[in-house]
């Protein structure tokens, strides 16, 4: 099922007279196995669009759709459930839970989904193997390097095999070599498992690897480029 933003506008009312457009007339379709980037300078609105896709914020105008469902019509708790069921998230600063081990971090959304213990074990093992951390599941985040933490974050995002993975500046905090490895990992997951990725980034190495690039300026998608493999 595809995710779609139709004529979406997000206005932040700074004061009675001052309106700030976080997103303006955004139309975006995210199909299955897309590998897409929202690119733009800081404050351009790419993270706002990411938040809109996730249903974390609601548009002032326009509609968010997932298949035939209208996300904007869902309640706050329903949108949270929707994210749990269909989305995975990767953050710039990893956002792992420090009190849980790597494996338990990966397990966390699966527990929320109510999977059986056997299925949780299988999925955690699979996800950690995909990111190359099958032997480090017992370590706590502080015992892992930045790159390893980001890998755990990726394992957490993919363990539930979601329809869409949203990644906000996933390589911004990594050194060049690790960033390259992480990008390769994203590519592999997209190719091998048809996982759909939408990145918010200004990392050129990542931009070069995605299939579609949407350039965001002043809350609008100003240009779209498609890379052909």
């Amino acid at each position: 099922m595809q995710f779609e933003l139709v004529n979406v506008e997000k206005v932040y009312q700074a004061s009675e007279e001052t309106k700030v457009y976080g997103a303006r007339n955004v139309n975006l379709k995210i199909a299955e196995s897309d590998f897409m980037a929202l690119v733009g300078p800081s404050g351009s609105g790419k993270t706002t669009i990411l938040n809109l896709i996730a249903g974390l914020i609601l548009p002032t105008l326009g509609t968010l759709r997932h298949g035939t469902s209208d996300i904007t019509a869902l309640s706050l708790e329903e949108r949270t459930k929707h994210r749990l069921d269909y989305m995975g998230f990767i953050f710039q600063d990893y956002q792992l839970l420090p009190i849980l081990t790597a494996a338990e971090n990966v397990e966390f959304p699966l527990q929320l989904k109510g999977f059986s213990q056997g299925e949780i074990k299988d999925r955690v093992t699979w996800a950690l193997a995909q990111v190359g951390l099958e032997t480090m599941g017992h370590r706590f985040p502080k015992q892992l390097s930045g790159g390893q933490q980001q890998r755990v974050s990726i394992a957490r995002a993919i363990a539930g095999k979601p329809q869409l993975i949203l990644a906000d500046e996933p390589t911004a905090n990594l050194d060049s070599k690790t960033a390259q490895e992480i990008i390769e990992l994203f590519k592999k997951l997209n190719q091998d498992y048809k996982l759909t990725f939408v990145f918010s980034t200004h990392d050129q190495r990542l931009i070069d690897q995605v299939k579609t690039v949407h350039y965001v300026k002043d809350g609008q998608i100003s240009e779209t480029r498609t890379h052909h493999a």
Partner: protein
């Protein structure tokens, strides 16, 4: 169930993510809980020991009388014409822990003065076995069981009517046959009640002499005063009245109740103060993790899940605290059972005077089981209240974005 276990594990790990802070919170709650349990046990045992000391001196646990002896409206008033005999008591087990008394208001005259007092005819041997009255005699001696027409007077009364040991006093009163009762009695002892009012209003003589004085049959008495202090309940005796000391001496009962209630009020205040401190710490702890709560929400944890995790965290903290606190309170109470506390420590060595009697109790602490669940409930209540505001803040602010 599996999800719940995960939730508990998550909360438990969060509880210990800042171990020093958690330990401080835990200790403050545990010490507070322990102190309150100890304090309540102290107040309860203290009240009981003081009362026991007071009641065993003279007043007794309860009085068995004719059903019309005490005025129903005011137990300070009594009717000396209402007597009974032991034959009317069906439950004879009472006889082992009680003593018979005959009481009448009389005039006692010395050389220069006459004063109204309450003359009580007592069984000297039984009184010696059951009460502390013989110990209150600080001049002369206690009544001789075989003696006749002996009287012991309060020290102040003797001074006011100007009599001393060996003097004879005239006693005049109302006999039960309608005649004027009068007799001469020899002062054999003086009672020291620490200068209290009782020293001026009480006099004692042998029960046989009092019965003759009042023209009563030898088997008739006014009261059977029981000193069975182990059981606070009053028995039911058909045809007779059983009056608890708290009804006869309501002012004493009220003061004991005041001590109990005041201790609870102090306990509330202690828990409230601890809770306010905890509330602040919890607020800081929660706010520090605000971004984490937002992440949880983004990756699919509902606000209710986050709230549950925090509530379990605080519940675990409270449970650990009350377990440790109850243990501490129990150890402290048990220590004070084996090493009783002298209440004069709190009075600068001065004796405690209660109801006109000198009280010198050593308080042995007895653990009251009810406190071991009432105090934890109090802690849970305040702890629950403490986290309401931080929780609302967390819930309100968790709806955020990447």
């Amino acid at each position: 169930m599996r999800a719940f276990i995960f939730l508990v594990k998550f909360s438990y790990r969060n509880l210990w993510r800042a171990p020093k802070r958690t330990l401080i919170m835990l200790l403050s709650l545990a010490i507070g809980t322990g102190f309150i349990i100890w304090d309540l046990n102290f107040a309860n045992s203290g009240s009981k020991e003081v009362m026991k000391e007071f009641l065993t001196q003279y007043a007794g646990e309860y009085h068995v009388t004719h059903r019309n002896y005490y005025n129903e409206e005011n137990k300070k008033e009594f009717d000396i014409f209402q007597t009974f005999s032991d034959a009317e008591i069906q439950d004879k087990s009472i006889l082992a822990t009680s003593t018979r008394r005959v009481t009448a208001p009389v005039f006692v005259s010395g050389e220069k003065k006459t004063l109204g007092v309450l003359l009580t005819g007592i069984e000297p041997e039984r009184e010696r076995a059951l009460t502390a009255l013989p110990r209150a005699v600080n001049a002369g001696r206690f009544l001789d069981p075989e003696g006749q027409r002996e009287i012991i007077l309060g020290k102040r009364l003797a001074r006011r009517i100007d009599v001393k040991i060996g003097d004879r006093v005239a006693v005049i009163g109302q006999a039960l046959d309608g005649s004027i009762a009068n007799d001469l009695m020899t002062v054999v002892g003086l009672l020291d009640f620490g200068g209290g009012d009782l020293e001026e209003s009480l006099a004692f003589t042998q029960i046989q002499g009092a019965q003759e004085f009042l023209a009563m049959a030898p088997d008739r008495v006014h009261q059977r005063v029981d000193f069975n202090m182990k059981d606070d309940s009053t028995p039911v005796l058909p045809g007779l009245a059983v009056t608890h000391w708290a009804e006869i001496l309501p002012e004493i009962g009220v003061s004991v109740q005041f001590v109990d209630n005041f201790t609870w009020i102090v306990s509330f205040i202690i828990v409230l103060v601890i809770s306010l401190g905890l509330s602040n710490t919890l607020m800081i702890t929660f706010f520090e993790r605000e971004q984490e709560f937002q992440t949880l929400n983004i990756i699919g944890a509902k606000t209710s899940w986050v709230a549950k995790a925090l509530m379990i965290e605080v519940f675990l903290l409270g449970t650990l605290a009350v377990i440790i606190g109850a243990g501490l309170g129990h150890v402290a109470t048990t220590l004070c059972y084996y090493f009783p506390v002298d209440l004069q420590l709190f009075t600068g060595g001065q004796p405690i005077i209660m109801g006109g009697l000198i009280i010198q109790p050593l308080v042995r602490f007895y653990p009251i089981m009810a406190y071991y669940w009432k105090v934890p409930l109090l802690i849970y209540f305040f702890l629950g209240s403490t986290m309401i505001y931080p929780l609302i803040r967390v819930i309100r602010r968790s709806k955020n974005a990447i």
